[in-house]
């Protein structure tokens, strides 16, 4: 039935044409004097703005980052093939902007808002990519927890909404896994997630999108991506674009989580751009303002007070270290900016401790203020017990005789270490975490400590069957009353008996 369709199309076109009002177009024009290495020198362009988006003939965009008496140095944001000496340049009069709003949910975009997932994007609302952070008096202290669903983190290094918590470690230690598991866990909450991929392979970003989709997390997530083959200018803008997208949600009072994966590649892209613009190199060839590069980005995470919407942006930046060196230039910069770090160690990872969190060196400077009451009750002593265990653990290697108290501590430390192991994409609910820690405190796992990591899923499955109502109550209230605690312990004891009986039969 082509006839009606043709009529529809022609009437649509007629309406569009009638709605069009011709008006004179006024713009500023210059021309390219020099091209090289992704940096273009433009002359004869009047009234330049710093950071302005320039449009080259052929549709290529660039950003004006170097204003001098006799011209503008612009960094190209796309492929340089179409740009030659003499190519015309139009001043758009705008700085880089990114679309914001609910239409972005479930989409993958690049730092200037062009969709990367095949479908068009009908954007209506935009925010500039560079914005000032919220003022001091517009903020309130962090007081609500952001649940990662990862027992090791929620118990000892808790993250609050509005905090900046760094994930730092060598390559292949599980940094992105922790970040993605946190995103997946937000399907039980109202937090909107933004994943910013900087300088990653396109195949890895596609993989991430598929994982999120498979786990049902894509409908509340936006991915802002600048792949490894994108220009340094795009990689430089990506985290700021992600922050603007987050701010678009925060001003509507929502809680947002932004993951910057990773800021090491971001610093390298900025260094590339600065060296090509002939800015003087400093330590490790980074430009002098590489600290400001990250501090202004992370300051945009905030917890707003009621008068300003009550929303929040939690930032989880990721930094990759070389050889475990946390004292290198960029790592120390970002550590001093964030409100704590989660330090992942290669040795722990290879010894089967996953997530490979070094609880001694990891810290959350917001801490217990951002923890549910129920969790606070059971997690208070964990850090001390673990650090005492680590001190004494060396004795187990030599098989030396130890007194009963020390033996006790070693068994409990071993149990706790096993309990903190968790498979990926399997986040725990608050109730499950509280139940596991209560079981630990009441020695439910002392049957065989080295199997504690196998018992954990069995226990959670058992509790899911037996205590659905109790779980619902604890998850909603965030607290564990004495009556609820007693009921939980009864279930745990029953579980222990079942395991003992089962074990005897084997």
């Amino acid at each position: 039935m082509t006839e009606p369709v043709q009529e529809k199309i022609s009437s649509y076109l007629k309406r569009q044409i009638e709605a069009f009002h011709p008006a004179p177009i006024v713009y500023r024009r210059g021309k390219v004097a020099k091209v090289g290495d992704g940096v273009v020198r433009v002359t004869d362009l009047p009234d330049r703005l710093y950071g302005e988006l320039l449009e080259f003939d052929g549709g290529v965009f660039g950003m004006a980052l170097d204003l001098t008496e006799d011209g503008v140095g612009a960094v190209l944001m796309d492929n340089a093939d179409a740009v030659n000496v003499g190519t015309g340049v139009k001043g758009t009069g705008m700085v880089a902007k990114v679309p914001v709003g609910d239409i972005l949910l479930g989409r993958v975009i690049d730092p200037i808002g062009r969709p990367l997932d095949g479908a068009p994007l009908m954007a209506e609302d935009y925010l500039p990519v560079e914005r000032t952070a919220p003022a001091i008096m517009d903020r309130r202290p962090v007081d609500k927890p952001l649940e990662t669903g990862i027992l090791a983190i929620d118990s000892m290094i808790p993250i609050g909404r509005g905090q900046r918590e760094l994930i730092i470690g060598d390559r292949q230690t599980g940094k992105t896994t922790i970040a993605l598991d946190t995103v997946i866990n937000q399907k039980h909450s109202d937090v909107i997630c933004i994943y910013c991929a900087i300088g990653q392979k396109a195949s890895v970003i596609a993989q991430t999108m598929n994982t999120l989709r498979a786990e049902g997390a894509m409908h509340y997530t936006v991915i802002v991506a600048a792949t490894a083959s994108d220009s340094p200018a795009m990689q430089y803008l990506a985290p700021y674009a992600a922050a603007s997208v987050a701010e678009g949600f925060m001003r509507d009072g929502k809680d947002v989580l932004v993951i910057y994966d990773d800021l090491s590649k971001h610093a390298v892209a900025y260094r590339t751009m600065s060296l090509l613009l002939h800015r003087p190199p400093g330590r490790e060839a980074f430009p002098g303002d590489v600290f400001y590069l990250h501090s202004r980005l992370l300051e945009r995470s905030a917890c707003m007070n009621e008068e300003n919407g009550g929303g929040s942006i939690t930032a989880i930046p990721i930094i990759e270290t070389m050889g475990g060196n946390m004292s290198a230039y960029i790592p120390t910069n970002v550590i001093s900016i964030t409100d704590g770090q989660i330090y992942l160690e290669t040795d722990l990872f290879h010894n089967g401790v996953r997530p490979a969190v070094n609880t001694g060196l990891s810290v959350s400077r917001v801490g217990r203020a951002a923890q549910h009451k129920a969790m606070r009750k059971v997690a208070g002593t964990l850090r001390i017990e673990l650090s005492q265990y680590r001190e004494m653990a060396v004795f187990t290697r030599f098989g030396s005789d130890v007194d009963d108290a020390t033996k006790r501590m070693l068994i409990r430390g071993h149990t706790l270490t096993e309990l903190l192991k968790q498979p990926k994409t399997r986040p725990y609910t608050l109730f499950e975490e509280v139940a596991l820690l209560t079981a630990y405190h009441h020695n439910i796992f002392d049957v065989s400590p080295e199997d504690a990591d196998e018992f954990a899923p069995l226990l959670t499955a058992y509790l899911r069957e037996q205590c659905a109502e109790l779980a619902e109550a604890v998850n909603t209230s965030g607290d564990l009353s004495e009556a609820e605690e007693a009921e939980l312990i009864r279930h745990l004891e029953r579980f222990k008996e079942m395991c003992l009986i089962h074990g005897e039969h084997q």
Partner: protein
């Protein structure tokens, strides 16, 4: 003294050209004028002075319309 480059689709009558130049003189003060005929404009004019372009050509308006409809 600024140079204004005026491009039109067809050659203009003396009267029309004088009016156009007057308009620009009012805006910019003293100026030199150059006239180029470029049929690809279809109609209207494009005036360029000191890096600023005033575009009222029909070809550009058609391009704008096309861009708008594509979205």
């Amino acid at each position: 003294m600024q140079t204004v480059i005026i491009k039109t689709a067809e050659s203009l009558s003396e009267e029309t050209y004088r009016l156009l130049c007057e308009g620009f003189r009012k805006k910019l003060g003293e100026a030199d004028f150059q006239h180029i005929v470029d049929p690809t404009l279809i109609g209207g004019f494009i005036a360029e002075v000191g890096g600023v372009v005033y575009d009222t050509s029909i070809s550009s308006q058609l391009a704008e319309m096309q861009k708008r409809i594509k979205e």
